[in-house]
Amino acid sequence: MPVEVKGVIALRKALNAYAPDLAKQLTVEITQSLKVIQKSARGFVPSSAPGNLYNWDRQPSAEPKAFNTSGRVRPFPRYDATVIKRGIVYRTGYGKPNSKGFRSLFRVRNKSAAGAIYETAGRKNPNGDPASKSNNPNAGARFVQQGPLYGSKKAGQDMRGRVIYRAWAQDEGKQLKAIFDAIDKTDKAFKARIASGQVKGAA
């Protein structure tokens, strides 16, 4: 579960309106922390497809139009370390509220399809799924054999993985603390400006 905070959105709006330099500084400091996670996560991406996962990174001569018959129309995502690394991104802008009313403030994302597979494969069926209609029903077990899932699983959210979740787990909250320290520091600086009357237009 992400850490729930209050007032960060309001603070950033106020910074954008009355102290753009502080807003930029805050974004830079948060970005630095997120870049640490991003760089660490990219380091966990194997350069080639893990062993025993034959032909995952091989381009077939005749690419099928769909990898299953459930309405998906795109081919199965091939393993490409470059694409996976490129797909590990961070965002500092707050997004739309989810169904529960929470808006994400800062996040790291593994957005490529192959990266998502490598990240989460084996979560649900670490021993494989004999009932699966896949060509490789034991893929989950094979993934788990290649490398364990790092992170933790809690009620409501499974944060186990091999790339970004692993990087986040190994960071042990250092970057999270750095981000909140940056927010606190910026908040204090902004309040100090208001108190000293350097912020025009602020009540």
Binding site: V5, I37, S99, G101, S104, F106, S112, I164, L176, I179
Partner: protein, 595 residues
């Protein structure tokens, strides 16, 4: 897209449903407020005029649509159901939040096609459901249903209502409508119960309010203008708005006038241009009162206040005001002349008093410098100087001139006293001026005398002090002789100290005994036990033996045995080293190797 993401931090901002509800509530609130805002926001003519026009227009269009529907129903033989149809439309409008402006044409189209009131109402209900479900506009759905009723199902198939072409061909219209009713049942009701439906209902209510207001305006203005045409009515609306605007301004002017009324009353000394009558005429203008009652009355007041004050009703008031002003001006002018004569007399007295005061002041100044004895002395000195033929110094000349100026002052004083006695202002003034001029001269001369005195004092200060003169030298020699020729052990008497005036010769040697200052007599003397001083005796210090008068005071031999800082050998060595060093290195006076 995958959703592999780490949300590092999140903030609760409220659920989406809550946001929607809040937004919808805001819309409702804004919708409710809009009517009030539109009516009461601007207490000005333009807004009232605009809304009035819109209301009248809406009411007129509504009336026109009603009449057209009634006419269409009458033409198809449903004239007796016109009222029922209108009621049905009003019910649908309130229930589903759809404007009657849209419902009437649709109902009219269906009525023309079916020529049956019940069937028309049933199809209109179905059309509303289909429209709400498919999003098609009511006019298109109604048109398709009308055509389908008449056997043309093409338009119905284009609506996309889920009926295949085969069914459309095979089934009858009743079967098709039954299927459509089953498919879209409750869609319109469901749509009306949504937030959007609520807003639509509010909009309908607002428009109905506008139409009602417009109808009221039309009825009122028709009654006021006694004319039937809408064009004339809109003109009347403009006039109405203009009159309202004038009324508002009239209130402000009236308040301002009442505020300044006391000043006007005080100025004129009575009622101003018969204001009550003028007000009465304006406020109770029967013609305007019959049109707009209070508004018309205030507007009339505005017209009255804005018009130049030249009407018949104010002519008497103006004449009265002019008369008052003329009376006041004449009175002020006449009084002014009288006052000028009195003031002239007072002015003359003041001028005389002022001249006498100035003269007394000058006399007071003159008494300070007037001294007969000095003048007489100066005259004597002047006479002596003339006898001598010339003055001996600048200070003497200045003193004589000063005394002459004082004599002039005395003469001016006498002239001024004579002028005062004659009570002649001009003579007093002239004598005063002359006296002041003479006093200035005396003052200037006195200043010059003071300056000369200052210069003399400075010169005395600059002279060198006569510290050493012949008297001092003689006295010093005499004292030295006394010291050198003294034979006694003590001085019988002491000389007076050579202090104080350096030019004064010492006295009392020998004589009385002044106070001694030991330091003065220390030279050649020694203090004795008796409190006196002994003169210097060489025998006491062993310079020669007592009684040897042949050598006493003639020759003194002093042998001094002085040791050296080193023994002779060391001294010899040091001299040799110095010579060698000088021969080697030289010094400032001797170059190296010269020895």
């Amino acid at each position: 897209m995958s959703n592999i993401v780490i949300d590092i931090a999140a903030e609760f901002t409220g659920k989406k449903a809550f946001k929607q509800a809040e937004t919808a509530s805001d819309k409702l609130s804004n919708g409710v407020k809009s009517l009030a805002k539109t009516l009461g926001a601007a207490f000005g003519a333009q807004q009232i005029l605009a809304y009035g026009k819109a209301a009248v227009k809406a009411a007129a269009e509504d009336e026109k649509a009603q009449k057209q529907l009634a006419l269409a129903l009458k033409n198809v033989g449903l004239g007796r159901d016109a009222a029922t149809s209108e009621g049905f439309i009003q019910k649908l409008e309130k229930e589903f939040g759809i404007l009657d402006d849209n419902l009437r044409p649709a109902y009219q189209q269906l009525a023309v096609a079916t020529r049956d009131t019940a069937e028309s109402q049933k199809l209109l209900q179905l059309a509303l459901d289909i429209s709400a479900s498919t999003g098609k506009d009511l006019g298109s759905v109604t048109s398709a249903l009308s055509k389908a009723f008449l056997g043309n199902n093409t338009a119905l198939s284009k609506l996309g209502v889920g009926i295949s072409k085969a069914d459309l061909k095979a089934k009858s219209f009743q079967e098709i409508t039954a299927e459509l009713s089953k498919t879209f049942a409750g869609s319109a009701t469901q749509s009306a119960n949504t937030f959007q439906g609520s807003i639509d209902k509010l909009s309908v209510a607002s428009n109905n309010a506008k139409e009602i207001i417009g109808q009221g305006l039309i009825a009122a203005l028709q009654g006021l203008s006694e004319e039937e045409g809408i064009n004339d009515l809109t003109d009347d609306i403009e006039n109405f708005a203009t009159e309202v605007s004038k009324a508002i301004q009239a209130v402000g002017l009236l308040l301002g006038l009442l505020k300044s009324a006391p000043e006007l009353l005080a100025k004129t000394g009575g009622p101003i241009f018969k204001l009550p009558k003028a007000f009465t005429g304006a406020i109770f203008d029967l013609e305007k009162l019959s049109k707009f009652t209070a508004v018309g009355a205030l507007s009339g007041l505005f017209d009255f206040l804005q018009k130049p004050v030249s009407g018949d009703s104010t002519a008497a008031g103006l004449a009265h005001l002019a008369e008052l002003e003329a009376k006041y001006a004449a009175s002020a002018l006449k009084g002014g002349k009288k006052l000028t004569a009195e003031e002239l007399k007072q002015l003359k007295a003041k001028q005389l008093k002022l001249a006498i005061d100035k003269a007394n002041l000058a006399l007071g100044k003159g008494s300070n410098v007037f001294d007969m004895e000095k003048i007489q002395l100066a005259a004597a000195e002047k006479s002596a100087a003339e006898q001598l033929g010339k003055v001996t110094s600048q200070a003497q000349l200045l003193q004589i001139t000063n005394d002459l100026a004082r004599l002039e002052v005395k003469q001016s004083i006498l002239a001024l006293e004579e002028a005062i006695a004659s009570q002649d202002v001009a003579a007093i003034t002239a004598a005063t001026n002359k006296l002041n001029a003479d006093l200035k001269i005396v003052g200037a001369l006195t200043g010059q005398e003071l300056k000369l005195r200052d210069i003399e004092k400075i010169l005395k200060d600059l002279l060198p002090k006569d510290l050493i003169n012949l008297a001092n030298l003689n006295e010093a020699i005499r004292l030295l002789g006394v010291i050198g020729a003294g034979t006694g052990n003590t001085m019988a008497t002491h000389a007076a100290p050579i202090l104080g005036d350096p030019n004064k010769s010492p006295t009392g040697i020998p004589g009385s005994s002044p106070v001694l200052i030991p330091s003065i007599y220390a030279f050649g003397q020694r203090p004795n036990q008796g409190g006196g001083y002994d003169f210097f005796d060489p025998e006491k210090v062993g310079m020669f033996s007592a009684g040897s008068s042949g050598t006493k005071g003639t020759t003194v031999v002093v042998n001094v045995t002085a040791g050296t800082v080193a023994n002779p050998e060391q001294l010899t060595t040091m001299i040799q080293d110095a010579v060698i060093s000088l021969n080697k290195r030289g010094d400032l006076l001797t170059y190296a190797g010269s020895l």
